[in-house]
């Protein structure tokens, strides 16, 4: 049963695809091409990030990380989390391995939550595009509000950490 639950999402997507294929074969072909394309993008991004995470795991000592993002790091921790998030490119699944490494090395939960929030809000690689398409006011509102919101959420997550039962893998 547990195994089934673990496989239920891939199964659901596979069924969805089969459904699409029956309903609209041309569209299913397009979906296949798009899937291949996003697989390629994933392979361009994820393996090097994972190697980097593996290397950091070996070379960065726990004490070093604690100084920057440990429970007593204060405001500095938020600044580092923001910088890390803003420079990293890619979808959220790239941020997950980085976040698990930081957690394992003892980073405070508030910095992890803020990192994930910032990762979904501020992206330097697409920032110029956002400004060009939607204007500076929109972009500022997006980033300003997003960061403020996730800052508060990060503090809340840390406050209720015991309730959330976060895994420390």
């Amino acid at each position: 049963m547990k195994n089934f639950k673990k496989k239920s999402f891939p199964l659901f997507v596979a069924l969805l695809f089969v459904g699409l294929f029956i309903a609209d074969p041309a569209r299913a072909m397009k979906a296949t091409l798009l899937t291949g394309n996003s697989l390629l993008n994933m392979l361009l991004l994820l393996p090097p990030i994972l190697v980097l995470v593996g290397l950091l795991d070996q070379w960065v000592r726990k004490e070093t990380l604690l100084r920057y993002m440990g429970p007593d790091a204060g405001t500095r921790g938020f600044v580092y989390a923001l910088l890390l998030a803003a420079f990293a490119a890619g979808p959220l699944y790239v941020a997950f391995p980085i976040a698990t490494l930081l957690l394992k090395k003892g980073a405070g939960l508030r910095y992890i939550v803020f990192f994930l929030g910032a990762f979904t809000t501020v992206k330097l690689p697409v920032l110029l595009y956002e400004i060009a398409s939607f204007g500076i006011a929109f972009t500022m509102l997006h980033i300003g509000f997003g960061l403020t919101f996730f800052f508060i959420i990060a503090l809340l997550f840390e406050r209720y950490q015991p309730v959330l039962r976060v895994k420390q893998s």
Binding site: A31, S38, P48, G54, P91, I153
Partner: protein, 160 residues
């Protein structure tokens, strides 16, 4: 593509450096990376297929018809729903949003869609749960959803 090559190059350089300094550590690091990759892969393959299906079904014309300028609350709800379920890479999100606005979608609705496409991932919840715990995954996605809703309301107040 260029980003990917630069990334591969940098990491290759760092790995070589690391190998030169300490073989044992580098081997352990690479073994761990490989294990992480295998751990993420099954979920990722399913997620990629879902991205493909999302992109093929959600053409700009299809989305615009749901979240037009006069669609109001219904449009806002649809935008948040589509954004939370679909997965579209961030470098496509803004061009897509710009196209939608040109096709007559409301700015607040497009804001809700773009923000939730990037911040909320209903289909990545299983993966997120496995890595961080179920409650964390649900709480993070719920709070991100709230952020997108509030952001869209702010956009309609300030810029609308």
């Amino acid at each position: 593509m260029a980003n990917g090559i630069a990334l591969y190059g940098t990491v290759l350089l760092l790995t070589t450096l690391s190998f030169y300094k300490d073989r044992q550590k580098t081997r352990a690091a690479l073994a761990k990376s490989w294990k992480m990759f295998l751990n993420l892969l099954p979920d990722l393959l399913a997620i990629m297929l879902f991205v493909g299906v999302s992109l093929s079904v959600l053409t700009p014309a299809a989305i615009s018809s749901m979240i037009g300028e006069t669609s109001g609350w219904m449009g806002m709800g649809s935008a948040l729903l589509i954004g939370s379920v679909a997965l579209i890479p961030s470098f496509i999100v803004f061009p897509l949003g710009a196209t939608l606005v040109e096709n007559g979608a409301g700015l607040a609705q497009v804001a809700a869609l773009m923000a939730s496409l990037m911040a909320v991932g209903v289909v990545t919840i299983p993966l997120e749960s496995r890595l961080f715990g179920k409650r964390f995954a649900y709480a993070r996605n719920a709070s991100a959803f709230l952020m997108c809703l509030l952001f869209a309301l702010l956009v309609s107040e300030v810029l609308g």
